[in-house]
């Protein structure tokens, strides 16, 4: 039990973590709504930064600190700046962000999808890690002590584990993604080149 508590922040819900979770999620969702509904595109892009930062906060709550840092560097640092530059270069801000003919069907589809996703996530029988750390469910045995120690070890320092996943288990996808990035950069350069 003492071992399992190391996994603590994230699985045990303490009141502080709960408050942090709800504050971060509500502000992320409000920022997401602002991105879509804001008239001023430039301000919408600034709210996109807030939404990305909120996502980084959620990653920290999920014990994915490495991903939180990656999120801040790539999304907040690079992608938002790229989008802001796109807005500045196209001088689009005064035209606002009108919707097209599909406004109401799109709302219906999005609400339907949200309902379906929420229904599925609240009605599925998830096989939870926490239950197995604390001695199994029904006749299924829980994890052995050595395995629990191993699990805690994985979460104590995630970066080497992610590295071996990337460079051993998923090395083919890793290489393909690097080729994809190269192709995207060359394609973007070719598209915007002055002729």
């Amino acid at each position: 039990m003492g071992e399992a508590l190391n996994l603590g922040s994230g699985t045990e819900s303490t009141i502080v973590l709960d408050i942090a979770f709800w504050v971060i999620s509500v502000s992320t969702i409000i920022a997401g709504l602002a991105v879509v509904f804001m008239k001023d595109v430039f301000r919408a892009a600034l709210f996109l930064v807030v939404a990305f930062l909120g996502t980084a906060g959620l990653f920290v709550l999920l014990r994915a600190e490495f991903l939180a840092v990656v999120q801040v560097i790539i999304y907040v640092g690079a992608i938002s700046v790229l989008i802001l530059f796109a807005i500045l270069m196209t001088r689009d801000t005064e035209q606002g962000s009108p919707s097209n003919r599909l406004r109401y069907p799109a709302g219906g589809v999005a609400l339907l999808f949200m309902g379906a996703a929420i229904f599925v996530s609240f009605n599925s029988e998830w096989v939870l890690l926490t239950e197995f750390l604390q001695g199994g469910v029904g006749e299924t045995p829980g994890l052995s002590e050595a395995t629990v120690a191993k699990v805690n070890e994985v979460y104590a320092d995630t970066v080497p584990v992610i590295a071996s996943l990337l460079l051993r288990d998923y090395v083919l996808a890793f290489e393909v993604v690097s080729v994809l990035l190269l192709a995207a950069v060359i394609g973007a350069l070719a598209l915007v080149r002055e002729r």
Binding site: V35, V36, L67, I83, P98, G107, G142, K150, V151
Partner: protein
């Protein structure tokens, strides 16, 4: 704070992004909505990886092999790939928006109809 809460946030964010991507005319706002959808998927992937027991540990609950226990972080690797693809997508998207603006003086996807016969 439980798995369902994180899935709820992911579902809401994804739906907001979906609505924006379908209903907005400005290509930049469509791009931003797509990014919202990417991050929602990332939240869902990491939350599932955090809370759900990997199949390898169900089959062998007393294993200590690295090969099995590192599958606990598969969702993180998926999120990294999604972030990479999202970055590539935004680079290309911004390039296309700028080319469109240069040629047609507009960023509205409804006006981008050069390929209509």
């Amino acid at each position: 704070m439980s798995l369902e809460n994180f899935l709820l946030v992911g579902a809401i964010l994804f739906s907001i992004g979906m609505y924006g991507a379908i209903s907005r005319r400005s290509a930049v706002v469509v791009l931003m909505s797509l990014e919202l959808m990417f991050t929602a998927v990332n939240i869902t992937a990491v939350a599932l990886s955090r809370y759900v027991l990997p199949a390898g540990l169900i089959f062998d609950p007393s294993t200590t092999s690295d090969l099995v226990t590192r599958s606990l972080l598969t969702g993180h690797v998926f999120a990294i790939f999604i972030i990479t693809v999202g970055a590539a997508e935004v680079a290309l998207g911004v390039a296309i928006v700028i080319t469109l603006y240069r040629n047609r003086e507009t960023v509205f996807v409804t006006d981008a109809n050069q390929m209509r016969h």
